[in-house]
Amino acid sequence: MKFPSKGWALVGLAVALSTASAFAATTVTIATINNPDMLVMKELTPVFEKENPDVKVEFQVLPDNVLRQSITQDVAVNGGRYDVVTLQPYEVQSGWAKNNWLSPLDFSKLSKAEQDAYDVDDIIKNIRAGLTYDSKLYALPFYGESSFTMYRKDLFERAGLTMPEHPTWTQIRELACKLHDPSHGMYGILMKGIPQYGQLSPLITLIHSFGASFFDKDWHPQFTSPQFKKAFTFYVDLVHDCGEPGASSQGVLELLTIMAQGKGAIWVDATVIAGLLQDPATSKVVDKVGYAFAPTEGSNNGGWLTAWSLGVVASSKHQDEAFKFIRWATSKDYAKLVADKYGAVRMPPGTRYSTYKDPAYLAAAPFAKLTLQVIENADMLHPAKDPVPYTGTAQIDIPEFATWAADFAQDYSAVIAGQMSIDAALADTQAKTEAVMKAAGYIKD
């Protein structure tokens, strides 16, 4: 049989390689998530190791909520397990930079040639701003994302409908409900409802796009404000009327499965997903998906902005090697490497302007142009219509976010499951959040 001999040969090779590299001078350990782009990074790492024979890179791959807990704990009590961590602007903005857990990345230490080759100004401005705190850059973006509207252009065509380039939520609702046909296994719009605060981004952006906000300028929570209630009610009603069943237990993974199986007509979510829906190995809707801006309703900030990024742990004993690795993994050369080995469509999206000028990428990724527009449009620093004291579009960039958002997520999931009324949920969240913000010292009486 083919497998065993090939398998054993590779096993033998792996053992040989690992013992060989056991003699390397430094080991850089990176903690990361199990997303397709990270796996590509892992597979291509031998290229880096060949160029830097003294360095060996070890990967610790974890699901993202476990990762968050694990690395926070490790770094906060100095466990020393990781040299490089994978995080998002949220972590940088909500405490990691302030607590000096990450090393500020100093490009001036490099030679001019190295600086030019890396070209840090090629990083998309908005993304770079999200990773900068107090004028210092704390992480390099590996892939960035915003959110936009994905829809089945084949179904739209068949029904004689058109998706506007800048749809409003009202229009989205209309279109979704026209295509909603549960008896034939087609759901008008796919929306999340699981009680996890890390998956609240669609709701958060919807709230902001209705012109509502989470806190006023004095940090008083706004959950019971009429505008917030209007937006929240819209979300809940849309799920119930024209969304998929059982939304209270569906998260991004489940919705991706439904969409890839061809059972969803519209889905507003991360731009990265477009690439996954174009992958014939997992998707039944390749080339059937059209794209438009994320919907708004009175405010112009419709999409969110975030980037899975690589940072160097401040207490790591291998600062230079770690910095070198993260530069390599986020460089133009790396993107070219990915294009060569896996095809242009797999180049890491959403981080560099140069990717979006690459004709091969633009040809392979029909969603590329819109993605760049959407990313440049999304303003992490001014998420709401009215002036607010917080930043952040996919999350709210304060450390307390995890606390009150987690409870909010539970209530919202209960509303979606039909087990809690909207008023009760909003009142409960308002009270809890006020308590949290008071205890943390934001609200000064």
């Binding site: 704990q73 405490g95 759901y187 059982g246 237990s249 987690a406 539970q410 209960a414 979606i416």
Partner: protein, 302 residues
């Protein structure tokens, strides 16, 4: 000759031949060294305020205020209730079904090994994988097998995880842990002295009589130890809750371990999570002591 009855004089005679504390000391010492130090530190931390995300606040003594804030937290209150309910339901269900399976396995012979493996399989899978299998392959309202199967009969859109989260979690847990009780009770059945069965049959007892008068009494201490150990193992139930419902919706399925998890990994409140743990340990101790007294698992008796 019964294995159960121990006369006072027998015990006394045996005691004179005892191996002394050297037999038990190493276990006790090991447990003290490995578990008590972290436990003491946890109790210490439960009296302090320490937020991992705010190192600038430092670690400060706050007395019992962590405990007080837990007591008034509705999520904690739900968690206590759910912990008791989940553990009780799971132990009861797995014991009844486990007994049935053990008896069946004990009596059949054809393909016994294979059927045993099939019956054991739910327990062999990781605690976080099993609920994922259920949630993804079976229970999803859109692409789950259960819904597809029901749709063949015209029923559609069933949402067990959203509408009956606690029941669903309990079903998964029961499926996972029934093999545990089955394993213990099988071992108990195998040690059932066959002379007693013979004697009973000679006296005219039929199968049910044998079961009631010989098997059940023999299994009683196995029930006791199995249910106690299972309860202790199920109290910190986490995987199914975390994966299937994430404690919700609306904290409906949150238990004490989930609350401690929420406090530590969402709020990064080390002190509060420690307090939650201490309360869990204390409550469990109280319940265990009461249970042991009731069941009279006195060393002398059983």
């Amino acid at each position: 000759m019964t294995a159960i009855a121990v006369t006072g004089s027998q015990t006394a005679r045996l005691r004179r031949l005892a191996p002394g504390t050297l037999a038990t000391a190493p276990s006790v010492i090991y447990l003290v060294l490995v578990t008590q130090l972290p436990f003491v530190v946890t109790v210490y931390l439960s009296l302090h305020q320490w937020n991992l995300l705010h190192p600038e606040r430092g670690v400060s003594f706050v007395g019992l205020s962590n405990y007080l804030s837990l007591a008034v937290d509705p999520v904690f209150q739900i968690a206590v209730l759910n912990t008791v309910i989940f553990t009780t339901e799971a132990v009861a269900a797995t014991t009844i079904i486990g007994l049935g399976l053990a008896l069946l396995l004990h009596h059949i012979s054809f393909l016994r090994g294979l059927l045993y493996l099939f019956l054991l399989s739910p327990f062999l899978v990781m605690e976080t994988v099993a609920p994922l299998l259920w949630k993804t392959y079976l229970l999803n309202p859109v692409y789950g097998l259960l819904n597809w199967f029901l749709s063949l009969f015209g029923i559609a859109g069933l949402d067990p995880l959203g509408q009956a989260p606690a029941l669903t979690v309990m079903t998964i847990v029961t499926w996972q842990w029934t093999p545990f009780m089955m394993l213990i009770l099988l071992a108990g059945l195998q040690s059932r002295p066959e002379e007693l069965v013979e004697a009973a049959r000679v006296e005219g007892a039929r199968s049910f009589g044998v079961f009631r008068n010989v098997t059940l009494p023999h299994l009683r201490p196995f029930f006791a130890v199995g249910m106690l150990v299972e309860a202790i193992l199920l109290l910190p139930l986490f995987g199914p809750i975390y994966v299937a419902t994430y404690g919700g919706p609306g904290f409906r399925t949150a238990n004490l371990t989930f609350d401690a998890y929420r406090l530590l990994t969402q709020q990064y409140e080390v002190g509060k999570a420690a307090a939650c743990g201490v309360v869990t340990a204390a409550l469990t101790m109280a319940v265990t002591v009461i249970l042991l007294r009731r069941v009279r698992l006195d060393v002398q008796r059983s």
